[in-house]
Symmetry: C2
Subunit: 210 residues, 2 copies
């Protein structure tokens, strides 16, 4: 399998974490979002022009959570999904709150629109960014009080953690005050201490440049 990825893309980071957790070998194909490679040849492969995308024997899969679901079915062990439908719904709700309510508002193409079309200032952009992180992290922190153990749902790594860790990475990158999120912070530290998680980090990617 071949993963189209960019080191700083948080949705690519989700898939890298899933592949690393399950120890599935893959090749990386780097798409540089900063230089706009996603809008050139790559768009013929993936009409969405987004990373990640996974090239499989059956064809291309786009959208990080569609990829994670596919990986889960093809390589069910160790699991990232719960067998119990309610527990799975709680993990998926956290994964989707991050993927639908936080990340899309703060990704590169939206920030570019705000800057280039709506001409907002750097300060307004920072406020926008921080606003949507807090809007998402506040209820997630509250929910984790009920659901978490070592990880988002009890002591099991799940799709929720796979989405949380990249979002925390981005929050740190944009200097978001994380002091009111002790549980999120604790889970993030715990996951990042695990060997497989290190392989997936932005810093460890061959296309990383800071």
């Amino acid at each position: 399998m071949k993963l189209f990825t960019y080191f700083r893309s948080t949705s690519s980071y989700r898939v890298r974490l899933a592949l690393a957790y399950k120890q599935i070998p893959y090749n990386s194909n780097y798409v540089n979002l900063r230089t706009g490679e996603q809008n050139l040849e790559y768009k013929k492969i993936n009409p969405f022009g987004l990373v990640p995308a996974l090239a499989t024997e059956s064809g291309l899969i786009s959208q990080s959570l569609a990829i994670v679901e596919y990986i889960e079915k093809m390589h069910p062990t160790p699991p990232l999904f719960f067998k119990d439908p309610f527990q799975q719904s709680q993990a998926m709700a956290i994964a989707l709150a991050i993927s639908c309510d936080i990340h899309p508002l703060n990704n590169l193409k939206v920030l570019n629109y705000l800057t280039n079309i709506l001409k907002i200032s750097d300060a307004e952009k920072t406020n926008w960014y921080h606003h949507w992180i807090h809007e998402g992290f506040q209820p997630i922190e509250q929910i984790l009080q009920q659901t978490s153990g070592d990880f988002c749902i009890d002591d099991n790594i799940s799709v929720a953690d796979i989405c949380l860790i990249p979002q925390v990475y981005n929050a740190h990158r944009f200097k978001v005050d994380m002091s009111t999120y002790p549980i999120i912070t604790k889970i993030n530290q715990k996951v990042l201490s695990l060997e497989w998680a290190k392989e997936a980090s932005p810093e460890e990617q061959s296309d990383a440049s800071f």
Copy 2:
């Protein structure tokens, strides 16, 4: 089961379609997003302050796609998910492209932020709205050329259609030019002609007010 819903919420509409397709009885609990009910008592039940949410015997489930996945497991027939992992990934990619790449940019709280905080004009807001619909619908239309039959994936209703129909409803509401999306338009008409889909439509809800 009790569904917290608002007639015009496209993510509530997704869940209503899923429940109607599977003919699962439920009670509706209306949360008026226009008057801000989601930020009052309701927030004690659902910290995200969003609809839809499904109250089950096990507890509350938020996020429309987490709810649809739960419903699919509890009531697998008729199916909204495919057994074949690759086909399911194609359906889920379309569902997520709508849920993550279009809808979050155009929902009420984001439009309110653009208007109230960033003080953009009505014309700029309309452009913003249309821009993200086209950004999402263009690649979806292209992908549907390969995947669609009567519905998004072959001739089977799936989670992709459940997400597409509400997004088309919203596109019409905001007067988006749909002339370059013949396949999306055809699928939308086909689904809306089915009796169960009518039950789920915004117009048919008890809290509808236009």
